[in-house]
């Protein structure tokens, strides 16, 4: 990576990998500027110096630092990496700032999403068979929102597309992985 970044030694000073407090600060800056979750390996590669253990320890320090009173962010490990996010406690303040209400999914969208989540990979035909209604537009809406993705083609006549959920789906519902989806049995226990 460093080859493409520092092609001109005159302009780009020699990279000095940060350590200690500066490693934590650099990681905070990187996560902030990235927006999207960053895998540990990406951080390690870009920092070119600290070991994976060093970076992980710095991430843990950053995570603890975010828990101090007076902080509004949280460092979270989601499906695709580490990400700074607003603390859920301050979601009302953020929403007031934007003058928005939380984005809602329609009942149809939630149904399709639930089917995709629990039955993936599924085809559109399967979804429509279970729901008994055409579901193309709803499915497209979910694809556009990044909650559902095309994850393959079924080896059957017509080779229909198969759909599955995305990392954003997991993040949105606060799930560390698909295995964390509650099972029907667990629901029954709650009754």
């Amino acid at each position: 990576m460093s080859d493409t970044i520092a092609p001109d030694l005159e302009e780009v000073p020699q990279w000095v990998a940060p350590t200690g407090d500066d490693l934590v600060g650099a990681i905070e800056a990187m996560l902030f500027a990235s927006g999207d979750p960053l895998p540990l390996s990406t951080l390690v590669d870009a920092l070119a110096g600290p070991s994976e253990e060093d970076v992980r320890a710095a991430l843990e320090r950053l995570r603890s630092a975010c828990r101090v009173p007076g902080r509004g962010l949280r460092l979270e490990e989601v499906a695709t990496g580490w990400q700074l996010r607003t603390d859920v406690r301050f979601a009302p303040a953020v929403l007031r700032l934007r003058g928005e209400r939380p984005t809602r999914l329609s009942r149809s969208a939630l149904e399709v999403l639930a089917l995709v989540a629990y039955e993936q990979p599924v085809t559109r035909t399967q979804i429509e068979e279970v729901r008994g209604v055409r579901s193309g537009p709803v499915l497209k809406g979910l694809l556009d929102r990044g909650l559902v993705r095309v994850c393959g083609r079924r080896e059957e006549p017509g080779r229909p597309l198969e759909y599955g959920t995305t990392d954003l789906f997991l993040e949105t519902f606060g799930l560390p992985g698909l295995r964390a989806l509650p099972a029907l049995a667990e629901r029954d226990e709650l009754d």
Binding site: S34, G35, R85, T172, F173, R187
Partner: protein, 282 residues
């Protein structure tokens, strides 16, 4: 950029064919004033006391070297050369008497005007450098990139993972129901019957029942559809009320009339809808 400029200025220009891509006016110097300022700084000349003759000679000398290494010199550099030669020629003439020079600024000596112009350009250069020292977004500092929507911002607070499960469960139950089949040759369900069915289920004014429960009692989809339409029509007439307490929550039907209410209004509507289109008068 600084490197070729130094090479040219010091005269150690390697006249290699490979360097023919240099074009003076765009790449190395940013116009004749830039070149002049460079020469002035190189020679440690005080801008306040600009020796026109010396500057002119240095400038012409430099252009000559460029010509020798076969670099194209843009026309504006030649215009500047002509200007400098003119100013230098003024040095050979006696200066105007002081008394006249003091009358108006319009009478300012062109050499002084030129020196001022160079000073002004020098100030601009310094300002540009000062601006360049400011922390700049994209170079020294970065703002937050808008990545995936923040969960706290998009999550519908009424639906969490368990909510999703409820919905999945509901679909499964629905899917287990007998297939909705329309049997041909059988007498179709009757709209009034379906309406009466709802009113009976409610059992008179104030009686309530969940819409889903009422519909669920029918086996066939066509009956459920007609019943649903009957509910909508009766709600429109004010015979029943519909109440949904929570977003996506169950819909409760509330009766406002007796269950034996006269259904003629309703049937009129149905008959109108079902009546064949009137004959064309033509």
């Amino acid at each position: 950029m600084a490197e070729p400029a130094r090479a040219l200025a010091s005269g150690h220009v390697p006249g290699l064919p490979g360097l023919g891509a240099w074009t003076v006016h765009t790449d190395v110097f940013d116009g004749p004033l830039d070149l002049l300022l460079h020469l002035v700084k190189r020679d440690g000349i005080d801008l306040k006391h600009l020796p026109i003759a010396r500057v002119c000679d240095a400038y012409l000398d430099f252009l000559e070297r460029l010509r020798q290494v076969d670099l194209n010199v843009a026309s504006e550099y030649l215009v500047m050369a002509a200007t400098l030669c003119h100013l230098k020629s003024l040095d050979l003439l006696p200066r105007k008497p002081t008394a006249i020079a003091e009358t108006e600024e319009e009478e300012e000596d062109p050499r002084e005007r030129f020196a001022r112009r160079l000073e002004e350009y020098d100030l601009l250069r310094r300002r540009a450098e000062a601006l360049d020292r400011q922390p700049m977004i994209g170079r020294d500092t970065f703002v937050r990139a808008q990545g995936l929507p923040n969960a706290a911002e998009v999550l519908d607070p009424t639906v969490d993972a368990f909510g999703l499960l409820e919905i999945y469960h509901a679909i499964l139950i629905r899917a287990d129901e007998p297939d909705a089949v329309v049997r041909f040759g059988e007498s179709g369900p009757d709209f009034a019957t379906c309406a009466r069915f709802v009113l009976d289920a409610l059992g008179g004014p104030g009686g309530t029942e969940e819409l889903g429960m009422i519909l669920g009692r029918w086996q066939r989809r066509i009956e459920r559809v007609l019943t649903f339409l009957a509910v909508l029509e009766m709600a429109r007439l004010g015979w029943i009320g519909l109440d949904q307490r929570a977003h996506l929550g169950p819909v409760t039907v509330v009766a406002k009339v007796a269950s034996d209410v006269d259904l003629s209004q309703l049937t009129t509507w149905v008959e109108k809808r079902d009546a064949p289109p009137p004959e064309d008068d033509a």
